[in-house]
C-alpha cells in the first residue's frame, strides 16, 4: 500500500524508540510501546479490520476506546484465545497475535458478504419472523448455519491456564475516571483527608487531556496531580481497571487487568483481579463519549469519530488520513480539524450549522482547514474503504441534504454529532436521566442517587476549566460528606484553563436524509449489530412503540459495545417516527457490565475443586492412610469404601456390609450435626420442637426424636442425650444441621424469648465414630477406659461420659446398623487419636472399616428413614412414625399436620421392596406402578434408596408408595424409565433385618 505508514515522528505519547512486533491475520507488523492494537494497525496502514455481524460488510476502526463497535478481533491462540476483543482497548505487547473474525475464507474476500445483497430479507425481526412463528421447527435445522454465518468470534473450549482473584476494598471516596475532573476530585478529596480510590480504565491518568498535543500545559498539570496522588498515603490508584457494575449501598464491581498488556508467559499468571469495592461516596468523572451522525455508507472503513482521529494523532502519533473531511454539528471537531491540518493533512470541515464559531473557525482556517458552514455529508462511498463523500447544503429545518451536492475525494471522514455523558453506573443503579435540550443528550437529574455525585463532562461540562473546577468542588464536597474538614487554601493546585470550551451551541443532527426527506440506504445506527435506520423504521411500522421493545426486536444496543455510539441516536429517530420528543420516548434500562468482563474474573479462585470449600472430618488423614476412597456428600468429603485389592465399589460395600453383621465395624460419623442445648427450660424447649416427649428422659439417657416444620412436614431427626439436669446434646442430620440450627435460634430469639435456653452449634467441636456389630463390646472393653460397656451399666439408649485411651469421650449406646452399637464422641482435636486407638485395639478383633456406602446399605436393610425419605414432602405417618407423636403436649407442626390432604389414606407411605426374581436389580429413582399397568406420570410412587442385602440375598429397595402399608404382601412394578426395565417386586415392611430390634439391645 502506498500510504502504508501513517506514523509521524515527534508526536504523541508512545515510545518511538521501542518497536513492538505483532501479527495481524498472520502478517508480521511493528508497532511502538504504548500503542493499542488499533493505533498500531492504523500506523501500519490497515483500514479493513473486521466484517460486520449480520451483513459481513467491511469495517474499520471507528473509535478509540470502549465505545468501538467495529474492530473486534480474536487474540492469541490455544487456551489463551480471546474472541470479540476491541482492538482499541488492547495494549500492544511483543508477540501479540490478532485475527479478524466473522469472515470466511478471508477478510478481503468474504463469501458471506452475499448477505449484504440480501439485506432486505435480513431486516429487523428476521429471526423471529422466520423461525419463531409457524415455521418454528425449521429453526432446529437452520440454527447451526445461522450461528456460523452471523456469529462473533469463537471461544476456546480449553481450560483457562491463568488464574484470577477476588478482593474486597473499602474507601471513603471512590473517583471513577482519571481525566481533568477525576484528578481534581481525587486530589481535593485526598487533601481533606479522605481515603480515596481513583479508578482509571486506561494505563495512564489524564483522560481526554491525553488527546491534546503532547508536551503542553495539560501534561504539566497532569504530572503535578499524579505526583501528589502517588505521594499521598490515603490514595490508591487503580489503573487498567474498570468499574463495570454499580450495586446497592455503595457496592461496585471492578476488574483490574494486571497482565493483559504483557505477552502470556508459559506458566499461569494472576491475570485479572476482581474488586468488590464499597465506597461511602462515589464521584463519577467518567467523561463523555462522542456520537456520530447517520447517513448512507456511514459504516465504511475510514469513517471515524472526530475525537478518535484527534487522539490517534496526538496520543499515538498516527495520522489516520491525508485527505480528511470532518463533519460536525458542534464546536469540538474544530480541534480535530486544526490538529490534523497542522500535522499535514488536507482538511475540509463541514459544519451543519449555518454559522461557525468565530474563534475556533479562525484558528482552524489559520491551520489550513477549509470550513464549509451550513453543509452536511450526505453520502459516503467506497468499496473496502471510503474514497469519497458527497457534500451538500444542509436544510436544518428538515434534516435533509439539498441537491445536487458535490463529490469530494477523501480517505478519512471524521464525525461529531455531539457528546453523551458516560453515566451507565448511575443508570444501572436506577438514576433517572434527564434530557438536556441544549446539549441534545441525557444528563444527570437535579437530584441524583444517594452517595453519588457527577463531575466534569459526565456532568455536561465541556471545557477543561469547567471540568477541573467541577471536580475540585465535588471532591471537597464528598470528603465533607464523609466528615472531613475542608483543607486550607488551594493555591498549590491551580485549575487548568485551556480555553477549549464551546463558543456556540450544538445543532441536533441525528441523521442526514436525502432531498426528498427519505432515509438513505446502508445508513447504520448500531454498527456492531448492523441495525440501520430502515430497521428502526420497519420496527416502528410494525408497532414496536416502546424503546425497550424496539431494542429487543432490532437488537440495537445489545452487542458487546452495548450501543455506546448508537443508543441516543436510536431514541431520537424513534421520537421522530412517533412525532414525540426524545424524553417522551423514554429510555432503556442499563445493566452491568459497562464493558465486557472475563468469566474467569467473575469466578476468581472458585473453579474446579475450589468451587466451594470442602469440609473434612478430623480423621481424614487416617482414612487416606488406610486406603479409603472418598465421596462428596453435600459440603462434606466422606470415606466411601475401603477396597481390598481388586475390589470395586460394588464388591467392597457388599463385603463390608456382610462382615459387619458377624464382627465389628467402625464408621466416621463426625459429619453429624451437633447442637448443645442448655438451660432450665431445655426440656420444655425439646418438648416443643420434637414430636415426642422429653420431660421424663432421665440424665444419662438418649432418645430418638423427630422434628416437624411449621407446615406439618417432617423436618429432621436424630438423637438427643440428657447429659445433666439442664444440659442436652442434640444430634441432627448432616444435611439438615444448618437449617435446624437457624430455626432453633429463630424460635428462641423471637417467639419463645421467655424460655431460658441457649443453643450452640457444636458440629465442628466433636469428632465421632459409630462402632457396631456383635463383637463391639469385646472390642471396646479391650481399650483402656473408665466406662463400663456392659449391657447392665450401659443399656440400649444409655449414655456415659469418661475417658478411652486417655481421651475424653461421650459414649451413647445407639445404632444405625441394627447391631449392638455405640456412638463415641471426642473433642475434634482428639478425633484421629480416637480412631487410632480403636484401630489398634481392633487388630485383635477383626475390626472392619466401614465406608458410608456400606453404612447406607445397612440402614436400607434396617429400614431407618434418612435424607432420601425426609424430603420435606413426607409426614410422620408417611414415614410410619405416627406413633411417636405425643398427644399430651403441643409441638411445632402439630396443627397443620392435621390438614386433610396430609391425612388421606392414599398418601405415599414408606415401604420395603424385594424383587420377585432375586437376580433382578432394583434401581434408585425407579417409578412404582400397578403390576398390570404401564406407569403414567409419576406412577404410584418411587424408589428412594436401594442396596444389595447380604441378609436377603438380593437387591432390596426402600420406597414411598401410594397407600403403601395396605399393599404389603402384594406386588408392584419397579419401572426404570432410563434403562426401560420393569421389575416386579414384593411390597414388604421397610425392616428387612431384625424388625424387633433385639440385636441392638443385646
Amino acid at each position: 500500500m502506498a500510504d502504508a505508514s501513517t506514523r509521524l515522528g515527534g508526536y504523541g505519547r508512545i515510545d518511538h524508540g521501542k518497536p513492538v512486533s505483532f501479527t495481524f491475520n498472520g502478517r508480521k507488523m511493528t508497532g511502538r510501546a504504548g500503542d493499542t492494537l488499533a493505533s498500531a494497525l492504523l500506523a501500519n496502514g490497515i483500514r479493513l479490520v473486521a466484517r460486520s455481524f449480520k451483513y459481513h460488510r467491511p469495517r474499520g476502526i471507528y473509535a478509540m476506546g470502549v465505545d468501538e463497535p467495529n474492530a473486534l478481533v480474536t487474540l492469541n491462540t490455544g487456551a489463551r484465545t480471546e474472541p470479540n476483543t476491541q482492538a482499541t482497548t488492547v495494549y500492544l505487547y511483543e508477540g501479540l497475535s490478532a485475527r479478524s473474525q466473522n469472515c470466511w475464507p478471508s477478510l478481503g474476500f468474504d463469501a458471506m458478504s452475499i448477505n449484504d445483497k440480501f439485506s432486505r430479507f435480513l431486516a429487523a425481526g428476521f429471526y423471529y419472523k422466520t423461525f419463531m412463528g409457524p415455521t418454528r421447527k425449521s429453526w432446529m435445522f437452520y440454527e447451526h448455519f445461522i450461528r456460523k454465518a452471523a456469529g462473533m468470534g469463537e471461544a476456546t473450549t480449553l481450560d483457562d491456564p491463568d488464574f484470577y482473584e477476588k478482593v474486597h476494598g473499602f474507601c471513603d471516596v471512590m473517583v471513577v475516571g482519571g481525566g481533568p475532573a477525576g484528578l481534581s476530585a481525587a486530589v481535593n478529596a485526598a487533601r481533606a483527608g479522605a481515603c480515596v480510590v481513583l479508578v482509571e480504565q486506561s494505563p495512564d491518568l489524564g483522560g481526554g487531556l491525553l488527546n491534546m498535543p503532547a508536551g503542553g500545559k495539560a501534561d504539566r498539570w497532569i504530572a503535578k496531580q499524579v505526583a501528589f496522588l502517588r505521594e499521598a498515603q490515603n490514595v490508591r490508584i487503580l489503573n487498567r481497571c474498570s468499574v463495570f457494575g454499580s450495586y446497592d449501598h455503595g457496592s461496585f464491581g471492578l476488574v483490574e487487568r494486571l497482565q493483559d498488556h504483557v505477552f502470556p508467559p508459559q506458566k499461569a499468571v494472576l491475570r485479572q483481579r476482581m474488586w468488590t469495592m464499597r465506597a461511602r461516596r462515589t464521584i463519577l468523572a467518567t467523561g463523555a463519549l462522542e456520537r456520530p451522525i447517520v447517513f448512507g455508507g456511514n459504516d465504511l472503513p475510514g469513517v471515524m469519530l472526530a475525537s478518535a482521529a484527534r487522539g490517534y494523532l496526538n496520543h499515538f502519533s498516527v495520522l489516520a488520513g491525508r485527505k480528511v473531511v470532518v463533519f460536525t454539528n458542534n464546536d469540538s471537531a474544530y480541534l480535530t480539524a486544526s490538529d490534523m491540518a497542522q500535522a499535514g493533512a488536507a482538511v475540509t470541515l463541514v459544519d451543519a450549522r449555518p454559522i461557525s464559531p468565530s474563534v475556533a473557525c479562525a484558528r482552524a482556517e489559520k491551520s489550513g482547514v477549509t470550513v464549509r458552514s451550513g453543509h452536511a455529508v450526505a453520502q459516503a462511498s467506497g468499496r473496502k474503504r471510503i474514497t469519497s463523500v458527497k457534500i451538500a447544503q444542509f436544510d436544518c429545518e428538515n434534516g435533509t441534504a439539498r441537491d445536487p451536492g458535490k463529490v469530494m475525494q477523501c480517505d478519512l471522514l471524521c464525525l461529531s454529532g455531539g457528546w453523551n455523558p458516560t453515566l451507565h453506573l448511575l443508570w444501572q443503579h436506577g438514576g433517572k436521566p434527564v434530557f438536556d435540550d441544549a446539549l441534545a443528550t441525557f444528563v444527570p437529574g437535579a437530584t441524583i442517587e444517594d452517595g453519588f455525585s457527577v463531575a466534569g463532562s459526565a456532568n455536561g461540562r465541556y471545557s477543561t476549566l469547567d471540568c477541573v473546577l467541577d471536580g475540585q468542588a465535588k471532591g471537597l464536597e464528598a470528603a465533607q460528606a464523609c466528615g472531613f474538614d475542608l483543607p486550607d487554601g488551594s493555591d498549590d493546585y491551580p485549575a487548568l484553563d485551556l480555553t477549549d470550551g464551546w463558543e456556540t451551541q450544538l445543532l441536533p443532527v441525528w441523521e442526514v436524509c436525502d432531498s426528498a426527506g427519505k432515509s438513505q440506504k446502508k445508513a447504520f445506527v448500531d454498527l456492531q449489530h448492523d441495525v440501520s435506520v430502515s430497521d428502526l423504521a420497519l420496527a416502528h411500522r410494525e408497532g414496536y412503540v416502546s424503546a425497550e421493545h424496539l431494542k429487543r426486536y432490532t437488537t440495537l444496543g445489545m452487542a458487546s459495545d452495548q450501543g455506546k455510539t448508537a443508543n441516543v441516536i436510536a431514541l431520537a429517530l424513534l421520537a421522530k417516527h412517533r412525532g414525540q420528543t426524545i424524553p417522551e420516548v423514554g429510555f432503556t434500562t442499563f445493566r452491568p457490565p459497562f464493558t465486557p468482563v472475563a468469566v474467569g474474573a467473575l469466578a476468581g479462585h472458585e473453579t474446579g475443586p475450589n468451587i466451594e470449600p470442602r469440609r473434612h472430618t478430623p480423621m481424614r488423614q487416617w482414612h487416606l492412610d488406610n486406603g479409603a476412597k472418598f465421596i462428596e456428600t453435600g459440603i462434606w468429603d466422606r470415606a466411601w469404601y475401603y477396597p481390598k485389592p481388586g475390589e470395586d465399589i460394588e464388591a467392597a460395600y457388599i463385603r463390608e456390609a456382610r462382615e459387619l453383621r458377624k464382627s465389628v465395624g467402625v464408621v466416621d460419623v463426625s459429619t453429624l450435626g451437633k447442637i448443645d442445648v442448655q438451660g432450665p427450660d431445655a426440656a420444655e424447649f425439646l418438648n416443643r420442637v420434637y414430636v415426642n416427649g422429653w420431660s421424663k428422659l432421665p440424665v444419662g439417657k438418649a432418645r430418638y426424636g423427630v422434628m416437624l416444620r411449621e407446615d406439618g412436614m417432617v423436618f429432621d431427626d436424630g438423637t438427643t442425650t440428657r447429659l445433666s439436669e439442664h444440659h442436652y446434646f442434640m444430634t441432627v442430620t448432616t444435611a439438615g444441621a444448618g437449617a435446624v440450627m437457624s430455626y432453633l435460634e429463630f424460635l428462641l430469639q423471637t417467639c419463645w424469648s421467655d424460655l431460658k435456653v441457649e443453643v450452640t452449634s457444636a458440629t465442628d467441636q466433636w469428632a465421632a465414630v459409630a462402632v457396631s456389630g456383635p463383637k463391639t463390646r469385646d472390642l471396646l472393653s479391650s481399650i483402656d477406659s473408665d466406662i463400663d460397656f456392659s449391657n447392665e451399666a450401659l443399656p440400649f439408649m444409655g449414655a456415659a461420659e469418661g475417658t478411652m485411651a486417655g481421651l475424653p469421650v461421650r459414649a451413647i449406646r445407639i445404632t444405625f446398623t441394627g447391631e449392638l452399637g455405640y456412638e463415641i464422641y471426642t473433642p475434634a482435636g482428639f478425633g484421629e487419636a480416637l480412631q487410632e486407638a480403636i484401630a489398634a485395639a481392633g487388630s485383635a478383633h477383626d475390626l472392619l472399616m466401614l465406608g458410608i456406602e456400606a453404612f447406607g446399605a445397612l440402614r436400607v436393610e434396617k429400614g431407618h428413614v434418612a435424607g432420601s425419605e425426609i424430603t420435606g414432602r413426607t409426614t410422620l405417618d408417611d414415614l410410619g412414625l405416627a406413633r411417636m407423636g405425643s398427644t399430651n403436649k403441643h409441638h411445632i407442626g402439630q396443627v397443620l399436620a392435621r390438614r386433610e390432604a396430609l391425612t388421606s389414606s392414599d398418601r405415599q407411605q414408606f415401604v420395603g421392596l424385594r424383587p420377585v426374581d432375586p437376580k433382578a436389580v432394583i434401581k434408585g429413582g425407579s417409578i412404582l406402578s400397578e403390576p398390570d399397568e404401564t406407569p403414567k406420570g409419576h406412577g404410584l410412587g418411587y424408589v428412594t434408596a436401594m442396596a444389595f442385602s447380604p441378609v436377603v440375598g438380593s437387591t432390596i429397595g426402600l420406597g414411598l408408595l401410594s397407600g403403601g402399608r395396605a399393599r404389603i404382601g402384594s406386588t408392584v412394578n419397579v419401572v426404570d424409565t432410563v434403562d426401560d426395565t420393569i421389575i416386579p417386586a414384593h411390597v414388604t415392611t421397610p425392616h428387612f433385618y431384625d424388625p424387633e430390634g433385639e440385636k441392638a439391645r443385646a
Binding site: 450495586y247 446497592d248 449501598h249 455503595g250 457496592s251 468488590t276 464499597r278 436506577g430 444517594d450 416443643r688 411449621e710 407446615d711 437457624s742 435460634e745 429463630f746 430469639q749 423471637t750 417467639c751 419463645w752 424469648s753 403441643h890 396443627v895 397443620l896 392435621r898 390438614r899
Partner: protein, 95 residues
C-alpha cells in the same frame, strides 16, 4: 446490599440469610386453630415498596434481625434485633 447489624455494624448482605415477612404473627404455641396457623405459615406480604423482613446474621453474631427495606430502591430505613419484637402479644406495628 449492605445491612447494619445491631451487634456487628455495617456488613455485606452475603453474611446474612433471608427469613421472609416479619409482620406475620405466629399464633400462641398452644393455639390449635388451623386457619391461624395457615395464615402464619403460608400468607406472606410481598409489597412493592416498604417491607419489614427477617434476616439472620449467619456469618456473624447469628442474631435474627428485622430490616425495614424498600423492595424497589433497596433503601434500608431501620434495622433492629428481632428478639422481643415478635411473637405472642408483642407484634410489630404494621407499617
Amino acid at each position: 446490599m449492605r445491612i447494619e447489624c445491631p451487634c456487628c455494624g455495617l456488613r455485606d448482605h452475603r453474611e446474612f440469610d433471608y427469613g421472609g415477612d416479619a409482620l406475620r404473627q405466629r399464633p400462641a404455641h398452644n393455639d390449635t386453630d388451623i386457619d391461624r396457623w395457615s395464615d402464619y405459615v403460608f400468607m406472606r406480604r410481598n409489597p412493592s415498596g416498604l417491607h419489614r423482613e427477617f434476616w439472620q446474621h449467619i456469618y456473624g453474631c447469628r442474631q435474627w434481625i428485622v430490616v425495614s427495606r424498600d423492595t424497589v430502591s433497596h433503601q434500608i430505613l431501620s434495622v433492629c434485633l428481632a428478639s422481643g419484637a415478635h411473637g405472642a402479644g408483642q407484634g410489630l406495628e404494621r407499617a
